[in-house]
Symmetry: C2
Subunit: 115 residues, 2 copies
DNA sequence: TTCTATGCATAGGTGGTCTATGGTTCACGG
DNA sequence: CCGTGAACCATAGACCACCTATGCATAGAA
């Protein structure tokens, strides 16, 4: 109804996106969602209720490490860093994403090879 | 552990893939999963436990219509056809997929614009 | 005859995402 | 001076798509 299109994201990609953003350098949670929105040109909009559980999940799996610090505005914020394990995970997920998205593209391109 | 990589698919894309396959012409359920596997070059493997509930879901939403008939082997099989409503839905989902996958690509390409 | 492929189907569990809340501090406008 | 909104964190509850496991039936091959 509203002109705002659904900005939901593709399930299963959130972890990868977060890992990728954090790979660019330490960021706090709120900043991650902002960067995802910016870099994706307002297409991807990560809800806070999705973001924070995801961050905790990734931390629990040892892919991220967290540390409290001060944000650019002098506020308290929890900064995340990518661990070596997280870097490996990111590589895996990127490869998987490429395989799968290319496979989907194959399907969407189909129309030829039909008997 | 096993050398077989996870062939799971991207959540949320199954409906679109099914609609797309059916758009190529009437097929029965089992055939849909085969074609997805073939066209994707063995990358996408739709489990039967995912497929049939999805088909019922799509039918219930009026995007597909079903009809019993005989398969190539002379067996009983339920054939699916795309409805006009389903065709519209497919268009929508394809556009959405393109938007989102391109947005993800933007994130994965990132590394430049950082301050 | 037993196994595999074809074909349909459901039940139950898992897990990620969304919505809805809740709270704090800072800055700005009225 | 007070309200509002942005910056920041967080959790609870619900939803829903997908997977695993299982069931059944028939045909053909080993």
């Amino acid at each position: 109804m509203a002109p705002t299109e659904k900005t939901d994201l593709l399930q299963g990609t959130l972890d990868m996106l977060i890992l990728k953003i954090v790979a660019l350098g330490p960021v706090h949670g709120y900043g991650i969602s902002q960067r995802i929105r910016q870099i994706s040109k307002e297409v991807l909009n990560v809800q806070q209720g999705s973001l924070y559980p995801a961050l905790h999940r990734l931390e629990k799996r040892g892919w991220l490490s967290a540390e409290w610090g001060d944000s650019e505005n002098g506020r308290e914020a929890k900064f995340y860093k990518l661990s070596a394990k997280g870097r490996r995970q990111l590589t895996t997920e990127e490869a998987s994403w490429n395989r799968l998205s290319q496979a989907v593209a194959l399907i969407l391109d189909a129309a030829r090879q039909e008997a």
